[in-house]
Amino acid sequence: MLNVYSFSIAFSILFLLVTLELVRKSKLLEKYSLLWIFFGFVMLILSSTPYFIERIARLLEIKYAPSVLFLLGFVYLIIFSLNMTTVFSKQSQKITTLTQEIAILKEKLEHEEKENQR
């Protein structure tokens, strides 16, 4: 039967396969895939063994146990977005430095050419 758990299981498996395929085709760098693979496994384990979900639900006083899945997914997305912005920030710093160095080099080259022509 199709319920939120079986859907979750199917989705987790599909998700893991797609992630691995992206890594295999080098469309996703290994270091960025780790968080996703980890996420896929956690979701797979949680949805295939409702025991954990129900324990967590009781602990957090959540009446409808499967909503723990949504909560986890949501929290994970927020963490991942934060992680992404740190990656962007680092990249934007690197791009700035590259831009500066290239501009300096280019000017130096043109300047030397001009000197030589004299």
């Binding site: 700035t96 160095e101 300096i104 000017e107």
Partner: protein, 235 residues
């Protein structure tokens, strides 16, 4: 003392109307090399600056004032300059003061000298929001560092070799003027202000519109506070 190599760095973004005149006036007033950083201008800033016979580094796209100035400091570091002076391209900063600023660094061993428009009675008039902003920034800098700087956002500044090297590897990209002051004070660099008259800009408008000024203030204040949490750590 041997001859000091001085570089005047002029960050320029769409300043084709004023840049030529600014460069001519700098040449009249100072014995220094001049470097224009053309920060991705879409107008003829590059051509106008080249026409004046100075070196021009053209960034392929707009990096903003921080990224542009850092380019200049990197150049100054690589070419072995002893002193670098930042002068705006819009004609606000009167090159008449260049020698006074440079002398101050050489004779009194300051690490940075700021051309300040508020330190004495100058005829400079600024908008109300700007004045309030200046007072708030001064106050924040004072609280964070115990140093009293009147014109914290002035872009008219001269620095020595030590600071050139520091800036070359370490310069904030957004709204750097105030931020940098706090950083320098934390590292015990010596900073002073000398009074200057600011001229009315020859062309263009301030990059800070009234609408943006509140956002500007919040952003700079946040950056300052976050920076101060970072104190002591390696930069």
């Amino acid at each position: 003392m041997g001859k000091q190599k001085v570089l005047v760095i002029i960050p320029a973004y769409n300043e084709e109307k004023s840049i030529g005149n600014v460069l001519a006036r700098i040449k009249e007033n100072a014995d220094a090399d001049i470097l224009v950083i053309n920060d991705g201008s879409s107008d003829a800033t590059f051509k106008e600056a080249l026409k004046a016979g100075v070196r021009v580094i053209s960034l392929p796209f707009n990096l903003g004032i921080g990224g542009a100035m850092q380019t200049g400091y990197r150049f100054a570091r690589d070419q072995g300059y002893d002193i670098a002076v930042q002068v705006d391209a819009d004609g606000q900063h009167d090159p008449v003061y260049l020698n006074a600023m440079i002398t101050k660094i050489l004779d009194e061993q300051y690490d940075m000298v700021i051309g300040s428009r508020y330190i004495s009675d100058t005829s400079y008039r600024s908008t109300f929001t700007r004045r309030i902003g200046m007072i708030i920034f001064s106050w924040i800098v004072y609280i964070l560092t115990d140093y009293d700087i009147k014109d914290t956002t002035s872009g008219f500044r001269a620095v020595n070799r030590k600071v050139i090297e520091f800036f070359a590897s370490n310069y904030p990209s957004d709204y750097p003027e105030v931020d940098v002051l706090v950083k320098l004070f934390k590292k015990n660099y010596r900073v002073c202000e000398i009074p200057v008259e600011m001229l009315n800009r020859e062309s263009g408008k301030s990059s800070i519109t009234p609408l943006k000024s509140v956002y500007y203030m919040i952003k700079v204040s946040m950056a300052l506070i976050i920076n101060s949490l970072r104190s002591g750590e390696a930069t």
